[in-house]
């Protein structure tokens, strides 16, 4: 395990150190993959997008300003790469409205929670994944950063290039949409 501090790795990568950048990629690959998975909505696209994110970052590392937060910069590339991808595919326009008969979320994402998870919890998780995937893209980006990655509103605002208040409102509206779409399942779980 490479113990070098991230600032040192970033500095070496900025000077062209590919090995240092590869170590940075190792440290952030799961989180970046999580963001693009939430944005893209399926594993195979997410795998390609994650590679593209790091390749873009490697090409642009020279423009990264010392003293800035590397993960903020990397998340921004991840979100922008995902938005470009979605725009290119026209997925947002063609996105079907939420349908309870669609394949369940986790399964659609290509994920499995393992046998230890209960059937009801699996079902709810699948529906939640499906509903999140159907959120408007900017709400989804905020959800991916705040809920999945645990970023504060301030950090998410820096990544998304908006105000904290905007992130707060996007999260509130995203949750209202999810509540409305998942109401039957939430009641089922409660009962």
């Amino acid at each position: 395990m490479d113990e070098r501090p991230e600032e040192l790795l970033v500095e070496e990568a900025r000077k062209g150190g590919r090995e240092a950048f590869a170590e940075l990629a190792r440290r952030h690959e799961r989180r970046v993959h999580g963001v693009v998975l939430r944005m893209a909505g399926n594993v195979s696209d997410a795998d390609d997008l994650a590679q593209e994110v790091f390749l873009t970052a490697w090409k642009a590392i020279g423009s990264f300003r010392s003293g800035s937060s590397f993960y903020t910069w990397l998340y921004r590339i991840a979100v922008n790469t995902s938005l470009t991808f979605l725009k290119k595919r026209g997925r947002e326009k063609a996105r079907a409205p939420f349908d309870e008969n669609l394949p369940v979320g986790a399964a659609a994402l290509g994920l499995s929670r393992g046998p230890e998870a209960g059937a009801v919890a699996n079902e709810l998780a699948a529906r939640i994944g499906e509903a999140v995937a159907a959120l408007p893209v900017h709400f989804r980006a905020a959800f991916a950063l705040v809920v999945d990655q645990g970023l504060s509103h301030a950090a998410a605002a820096r990544v998304l290039g908006c105000s904290e208040n905007t992130v707060s409102w996007r999260m509130h509206k995203a949750r209202k949409i999810l509540q409305a779409r998942l109401k039957p399942y939430l009641e089922e779980v409660r009962s």
Binding site: R18, A46, D47, A50, L55, G114, L178, V189
Partner: protein, 201 residues
């Protein structure tokens, strides 16, 4: 507090973004409002159920890193080949710029160069005239003909004498007035030597 702001604050609270001063008001509202209590419970379930499980086993990440390493290496190699190509293009650009400057200088020299005096323009033709001069020397008639032509050409080129031009001579009083005392003394001495009578003074 109404339900709408309470629900917005419940969302903030889940993200750890609720200002501490607002927490008691929200709690009081939720305690009194059945609908908002249900809403809060729903939010908590969604939050708990939204966590993404790790999508891939460790083998996937090893393959991911190998694939990324290959792409980074390819990008670096591409960058290395692009740099010399750019250098070549830069050299070509400099060469093209130099050629344009030279062409501009040539055009300027051809069109706008200062006109040289006629006497200098004759110099390159001296060698051309040599065979004619030699032929004229061998033939007296031709020599006389050439001589006439040359004299006529010289007369033609010689500026006409201005009839109004003032030509100072010893008979002109201005000639003498223009002389300094030393020059005048020298002339007087020379005239005395030549004639023994001195000048007009």
């Amino acid at each position: 507090m109404r339900c709408a702001p309470a629900r917005k604050r419940l969302s903030d609270a889940l993200d750890g973004a609720l200002r501490p001063g607002r927490k008691p008001g929200v709690e009081a509202h939720v305690k009194a409002c059945e609908s908002c209590r249900s809403y809060r419970d729903g939010l908590a379930r969604i939050q708990a159920g939204a966590a993404l499980p790790d999508a891939h086993p460790p083998e996937f990440w090893a393959a991911f890193e190998r694939g990324l390493e290959r792409k980074l290496a390819a990008a670096e190699a591409g960058r290395a080949t692009v740099v010399p190509a750019l250098a070549v293009r830069r050299r070509l650009a400099w060469a093209a710029a130099a050629a344009m400057v030279l062409a501009g200088a040539g055009i300027w020299y051809a069109l706008l160069r200062p006109q040289m005096p006629v006497t200098e323009a004759w110099v390159p033709y001296e060698d051309v005239l040599d065979p004619f001069v030699e032929a004229a020397e061998a033939d007296p008639e031709l020599a006389a003909s050439v001589d006439r032509e040359v004299r006529a050409a010289i007369d033609e080129m010689t500026p006409a004498r201005d009839a109004d031009a003032v030509v100072l001579s010893a008979a002109d009083p201005l000639f003498w007035e223009a002389l300094s005392d030393d020059e005048l003394e020298d002339i007087i001495a020379e005239l005395e030597d030549e004639t023994g009578r001195g000048g007009p003074l």
